[in-house]
Symmetry: C2
């Protein structure tokens, strides 16, 4: 996907290949310096929300108590609303959302399959981990969008509630089922890599993106730190 | 489920068992004479919408084109909104929606399983037939609710769009796949009985309900007539 440019201009005078900067040497990442092309940005973000919606729907179907169905269906509704609001932004830009989302479908579908797990609990943790990391990631990237679009996208992505529902559902399950915590701790750890690959795919392909890749490295570190906090909240070792 | 009463009063003076009136002899059904108890009415209607949401989510997951996913996810969103608006009415009445819905879950889940079919097309037709008949049925029953609740429930149930999406999806599939029409015509016919059982379950159990059962008989005839029109619209023999 070639959709990154540098707000400061193309800088053709810079060497096209420069030595990779080790992540630790990059002091501060200014995400507003990274300018995602709005169309593919919205397309990928929108399709990812559709994937979360599908996974949350599976969790609704698999829920055994009415109370869980209620909470999870509310969470599914939040993901679906984000999806539809993001494709409304694509329409506003005069493009056909289906065509824009299509290139992101295969990798996103694979993430959904890879994180669906073996049962209801692994499914829920899979959504908790991937949506926790990716919602946060896309919200940060959105900082580089043009001002008016940035405001709207920020508001769309800020809609919370999914993490709270999954945290509450998982917490109740872990408390009532001895041994589940150990299994879920392992499972949560195994998902992080797949999720970071999707985050990285938003930067792949262009020369400026390669450079951007260096600058966003610390962001991945932060994403993992927040993942650790989510796992800690559930009493799981990340 | 005992939740029917007669707005005109209990009429204890009437014989408790009277000869069944043949449906053809009942000239006109005044649904406003039937007074559903709001709580179980809302509980059953709400749970049925949750079932439609789950079935539509399965259709989103099973859809192979992005365009179909878009349309079906919008339809799933409509069912989910109806569900949440109906449980909001239950909360307004001071009851716990989970407890009110629970008794309706087994039969509704069975309907969902019985109408899920063998593939994406049978699944979509199953939703089209059951939601077409039951949305219409519950909208008619809602006429007997207290005035303010009736207005809100009528507005909740009137939210359209699901039938249009399923009609468009099924029409496209039938046009492009020779032989599908015959299979779906058979399938559609086989669903009607299961759906009517659910409709009937809303009337079962009480003496007044038994009498109501006679009076609503023509409504079932109308439900089937509308089912026939939906099938005709798809070029399927009902």
């Amino acid at each position: 996907m070639v959709f990154w440019s540098n707000r400061r201009g193309a800088r053709q005078e810079l060497p096209r290949l420069r030595p990779r900067v080790a992540p630790t040497e990059v002091a501060k990442v200014d995400f507003t310096e990274l300018v995602p092309d709005p169309v593919p940005f919205l397309g990928q973000a929108a399709y990812i929300q559709l994937e979360f919606f599908e996974s949350l729907s599976k969790a609704v179907i698999g829920a055994t108590s009415m109370h869980s169905k209620e909470r999870l269906s509310a969470a599914a509704g939040i993901a679906l609303r984000k999806h539809h609001e993001l494709i409304a932004e694509l329409r506003r830009l005069g493009v056909e959302p289906d065509e824009v989302m299509a290139p992101f479908a295969p990798a996103t579908d694979r993430l959904g399959q890879a994180t669906a797990g073996a049962d209801q609990y692994e499914l829920m943790l899979g959504i908790h981990v991937t949506s926790g990391m990716l919602d946060d990631y896309f919200a940060r990237l959105a900082e580089g969008l043009p001002a008016d679009l940035r405001t709207r996208v920020r508001s769309i992505l800020a809609a919370g509630g999914i993490g709270e529902v999954l945290d509450a559902e998982l917490r109740a399950a872990i408390e009532s089922q001895p041994g589940l915590a150990d299994r879920l701790a392992l499972w949560g750890r195994s998902i992080v890599g797949d999720t970071l690959l999707i985050a990285r795919s938003a930067l792949r392909g262009s020369e400026p993106a390669e450079r951007a890749g260096d600058r966003v490295e610390p962001v991945f570190t932060e994403l993992i730190a927040e993942h650790t906090r989510r796992m800690d909240a559930l009493g799981l070792t990340a």
